[in-house]
Homo-oligomer: 162 residues x 4
């Protein structure tokens, strides 16, 4: 059974709430094991245990919080071992056009450098789900949609025959 990790950094609870919407969507996919936790509780080496890794951050100065980057920097210890796995990113910010896209794309870039597989969404938030402040019905829907899309891709690539 393929495993997905949704790890987030959240001070105010906004990014955590979006992580939970994503987890809800991912859990609708049969045969996928979904873990959600704060990024501070994730050891870099632990990432090797997941077929899908979804990382979320508030937007600080147009990109991820340093705590999220620290985990990525530490993952260099096993560089190449995540190649071919599924990746994704999400972000929350105070403003529209306040850095959500650049933050998500910076995380996706890091995952591409690991050789991972990412996907977009043809409707709504294209690169990954986004919430402004605490979010709303729209951001929850986007979170669930992305969770489902990433989950289905993971299942397609790593799920065994029934």
């Amino acid at each position: 059974m393929p495993k997905m990790l949704i790890a987030y950094y959240s001070r105010t609870g906004n990014t955590k709430a979006l992580a939970e919407a994503i987890a809800e969507g991912a859990r609708e996919v049969d045969g996928l094991d979904v873990t959600i936790k704060p990024i501070q509780e994730v050891q870099a080496r632990e990432l090797l245990g997941y077929q899908a890794i979804i990382l979320g951050s508030p937007v600080y100065y147009g990109t991820m919080a340093w705590e999220v980057k620290k985990l990525l920097d530490e993952s260099v210890a096993f560089h190449g071992k995540l190649s071919g796995r599924v990746g994704g990113a999400f972000a929350t910010s105070a403003n529209i056009a306040g850095g959500n896209e650049t933050t998500i794309l910076a995380i996706l870039n890091a995952l591409l450098i690991h050789g991972m597989i990412v996907r977009g969404c043809a409707s709504g938030d294209h690169y990954g789900p986004v919430a402004i402040e605490a979010g709303d019905a729209r951001s929850r829907d986007q979170g669930e949609l992305f969770g489902r899309l990433w989950g289905e891709l993971t299942e397609k690539l790593f799920g065994g025959p029934a």
Copy 2:
């Protein structure tokens, strides 16, 4: 008297409306001559006549419309001659996180490659003003604010003594 060009591509009128808000802000700066027009009416060589060049586009697939890129591609004929001038960008999109930031940053990158000087804004839309669909009071305020900031920078760099 330094001259600023605000050139926009607009099918629906949304990007034109944001261009007008920027022009309004820029016109508050003393001693600055502001021209606003559709990008289709701008010849590449004409860019040489301005000390500040502000370009706006709707978001199409995460970046500027090809009509805007065409003008930039044609500007290679006098590459280097815009070095040290002031640049800026603005964008309109259908969705939050629908590509506004990546569009603005793509235009800014092109202007940096020309050797131009750009600036951000510490509040609101940081990289350049953004409107969702037809925009609202917030996007008009951001447009005016950026017009003023870019105008003041142009005046500071190119305005003569009184």
Copy 3:
């Protein structure tokens, strides 16, 4: 049998040469039909006939040539229909750090907005293969490697049982 399109814009032949290296790598993947052609000969609607779409451009002002963007802009006519397919990008430039990465990422962004699936490479050029000027053995190797990786992903997602 899944089909891959490698479409390039090339004036000097540099981008065409990199496209050919990618095609060579992709052709090593069993059960994949590979088409390579100049982007000017590709009609937007034709894209619907491929399970994998790989686009290449020289770097002009930090992003793709307007001719490449024009094809992407025209693809809005069937937006959503490419969702779940495989995408990729490559670029050639005159300089190191002359815009190769921003060009590749701009194309990848557009493909993500179409809902497509992209992947990176843990070694060498991470986001897509790059050549400086006419390229060299390194860039040909990177082209072949990416062709193979994108081909294998396409085969995994779209190839039927033997």
Copy 4:
């Protein structure tokens, strides 16, 4: 006399060497006080003492090292106070197209969010100087050129009359 800070994070000495080339170029500008030091020795609040802030990082996973991001995150304490000052960025990486551009642009984005003024260069490395591994004559020249360009801009904006 305007003050410029060049702060770098360097484990191998590569980023430090590029910082030194930039400092050399900046010191050619009359009436500019140039300080160069490791980023670990820079307190966020100290940034307020400079009219120009130039930050350099090795490329780790397509963007700046977390130690550089930490300084930027801490600078939120005086957000808005750097508005209108001069910013710049530089990077070193192991590979061509290995993330140099995305790293420099991520730092520039952060500086734009602070409301700072940045500039590009019409020749060579457009967004900021880049070295592959230990660098070479080309990267040293680019470093000096950018140091001079950023220095001249700082002098123009903040230098007093003779």
